[in-house]
Amino acid sequence: MEKTVTLVPDHPSLEANMRKTAADATALPEAPMPMPTQSLSPAEPPSFSFRQWLSRAFGPRLTVRS
């Protein structure tokens, strides 16, 4: 897609050295802040094991005597 952009070659503010000064003066400061990538994964569904359920429900109960 074509667009129209506007240049201002004759504007008094735009001598070459002023452009260069502007570019130098406006460089972003170096002040890093980490931005770790977040996880968007679905939660793991709770896994169900019939054997584990059986052992929990009906397995031998151990009692510890103090």
């Binding site: 952009v5 506007t6 201002v8 504007h11 735009l14 002023m18 570019a23 170096e30 002040a31 931005m35």
Partner: protein, 615 residues
């Protein structure tokens, strides 16, 4: 320490509004109750609509397609009812006052991410805001973050930057400019790169779009509110659409200005700690944003995979997941943006939003998200699927009528025997009452909230800013009529977008066509011939095969048939200024005037050059 509760009476019903609290992760009970009430009312409305339709369909013996039509009608009506609930909820003013810090100590940077924009226009906005903020009791810098791909576009930006620096001189605030040669991650990636490289230099960032403008007082108010609330990490203002010229643009602008504040108040009552983020005209706490909002690429290719297009909703959800508060404050004025001037520009933007919202379907099961964040994703998805539901409902209802069975006047089981007259016929029960009731109910859900907003505007005096009671009434009725005419055309574009996205076509992020205005009939035809053909085919089919349903289908099929005419007509300048009047038209805000002044002075030396815009 107990937090203060603020009460907002609404016509005798007492609502608990959000108490400001830090990080205990719970939503107020009143907010949860309101949300549940809205869902229940929406489900009831959808159920009643489906029941009425099923009764109507059974009485007039429609074929089994009516079951599909009923299911779709239930979902679509529930969606309409949810919107009506939002509007009704926002009728009463919010009475709580947000806390504001007296002295601003936070350092703020105004971020202006741009990509192939009109450099003079964009930089003139920055100049206007910088000029207004001169002397403000706060450190507020500006960072223009460019993703412009073309060399000539970059040259234009450098020229405009020099003008900006010369215009505003040394005002105390600094202006930074950075251009990326690779626009990785598009806008979200642009901001992420800034934060990773330079974010620690500031505390807050005011995120703008290229067409955003904000009054200095609004910017300072937002900074004060965020500074006063340690758990508040994203504060969204309600941008007002300004500078519309066409009939379509002014109608949208009026609807946003007249109805928008009320619906946003309704949204604010439901937001709890999990408010919306619309990607611009919002203040963020940089540290929290950096900790919580690093977005990954989704597995797979676009449109379902790749970079997250509608990143703002996801960022808000991630902030809420981390325990922060995201909030919209509808009382913040002085926040402006520009909108599309014609239906084609609107449809192009909507195509991107459709893809972005449908992409959120992959995030519904993301671990740790708040239930309300998931509900917001669902609302965004439904806002586009609903067009598909309506279209499919129309088709299913038409097919149901196609195989409508003839009445059986002498059903063997229930034939009535009269001693003298013999067997009497069983006449069909008149079902028109149910059909009419259903029609009235759906129209009521669409229209009644807007009429209530009109009543609110008249009673509160807000209508004065829109030309007075008479002009407001004319504007509301005119906007309703125009919306009814354009709805089938917009539905067709949305259905096309849905089909494209669901069939795997990536629409990407096309350059914004800001300021694009009048369209010729040829241009409109080129973009909408498929709608006209669909309307013509539908009319021919209905008239010949299901003539009894034609009156119900005409309000949809006629606008589709006339789509090119409607698109061209609504793109023309709106000459009658008393209709669709907004406060910003009658009393132009200072920031807009300042922008106009600066831009017109710069343009005196401008040389237009055609350049390829690289998205």
């Amino acid at each position: 320490m107990a937090q203060p509760r603020i009460w907002a009476p609404i016509d005798g019903a007492i609502l608990r509004t959000l108490p400001e609290h830090a990080g205990n992760g719970t939503e107020p009970a009143g907010v949860i109750a309101l949300r549940a009430l809205g869902v229940i009312m929406a489900v009831l409305a959808g159920g009643m609509a489906a029941l009425l339709f099923v009764q109507y369909a059974a009485l007039i013996r429609l074929s089994e397609w009516f079951w599909l039509a009923a299911a779709l009608l239930a979902v679509s009506t529930a969606w309409l009812a949810w919107g009506a609930f939002l509007g009704t909820l926002g009728l009463a003013p919010l009475r709580q006052k947000s806390a504001e810090a007296e002295i601003i100590t936070a350092r703020t940077v105004v971020l202006v991410p741009i990509c192939n924009e009109d450099a003079l226009d964009t930089f003139a906005r920055v100049a206007a805001m910088r000029r207004q903020l001169a002397g403000a009791p706060a450190q507020i810098d500006f960072a223009i973050l460019s993703d412009t791909g073309s060399a000539i576009g970059a040259q234009a930006e450098e020229d405009a930057l020099a003008l900006l620096l010369a215009e505003t001189g040394s005002t105390g605030s600094k202006v930074y400019y950075r251009r990326r040669t690779q626009n990785t991650g598009r806008k979200a990636g642009n901001i992420a790169e800034f934060i990773s490289r330079s974010g620690a230099a500031w505390d807050f960032a005011l995120v703008l779009d290229a067409d955003s403008l904000m009054e200095a007082t609004t910017v300072l108010t937002m900074i004060r509110r965020m500074q006063a609330s340690p758990n508040l990490t994203l504060l969204q203002s309600l941008p007002r659409v300004v500078r519309a010229r066409s009939l379509f643009g002014r109608a949208m602008q009026f609807a946003a200005a007249f109805h928008g504040p009320v619906f946003t108040r309704g949204l604010a009552r439901l937001q709890g700690r999990t408010g919306p983020y619309w990607g611009h005209n919002a203040l963020v706490r940089i540290r929290a944003f950096a900790d919580s909002c690093g977005l990954p690429e989704l597995p797979g290719r676009a449109p379902a995979g790749g970079h997250i297009l509608s990143h703002d909703y996801v960022e808000a959800a991630l902030l809420a997941r981390a325990g922060w508060t995201v909030r919209v404050d509808p009382d913040l004025g002085g926040s402006y943006e520009e909108g599309p001037e014609n239906i084609l520009a609107h449809a192009r933007r909507d195509r991107r939003w459709c893809q972005g919202n449908l992409q959120h379907a992959r995030l519904l099961r993301t671990e740790g998200l708040r239930l309300w964040s998931r509900a917001i994703f669902v609302q965004g998805i439904l806002s586009y699927l609903s067009s598909g539901f309506w279209a499919t409902f129309l088709i299913a209802a038409t097919l149901a009528g196609l195989w409508q069975t003839a009445p059986d006047y002498f059903p063997g089981v229930v034939a009535i025997y009269h001693e003298r007259l013999g067997f009497l016929p069983v006449l069909p029960i008149d079902a028109s009452g149910r059909a009419f009731g259903l029609f009235l109910g759906i129209v009521g859900l669409l229209i009644l909230p807007k009429l209530l907003v009109l009543l609110e505007a008249i009673l509160t005096g807000r209508a004065r800013a829109h030309g007075g009671t008479g002009a407001s009434l004319a504007s509301v009725l005119s906007e309703l009529l125009l919306s009814a005419m354009l709805a089938p055309v917009l539905m067709a574009y949305q259905v096309r977008a849905l089909v494209q996205v669901l069939s795997g076509q990536d629409g990407g992020w096309p350059p914004n066509a800001r300021g694009e205005g009048q369209l010729t009939l040829r241009e409109s035809w080129a973009a909408s011939w498929f709608i006209t053909l669909t309307g013509a085919a539908g009319l021919a089919f209905s008239a010949t095969m299901v003539p009894q349903q034609l009156p119900w289908l005409l309000p949809v099929l006629l606008p589709m048939l006339l789509a090119p005419v409607l698109i061209a007509w609504t793109s023309k300048p709106a000459r009658l200024r008393t209709v669709y009047a907004t406060p910003e038209e009658s009393d132009q805000p200072a920031i807009l005037e300042l922008h106009d002044t600066i831009l017109s002075r710069w343009r005196q030396h401008a040389v237009p050059v055609r350049a390829a815009a690289v998205a």
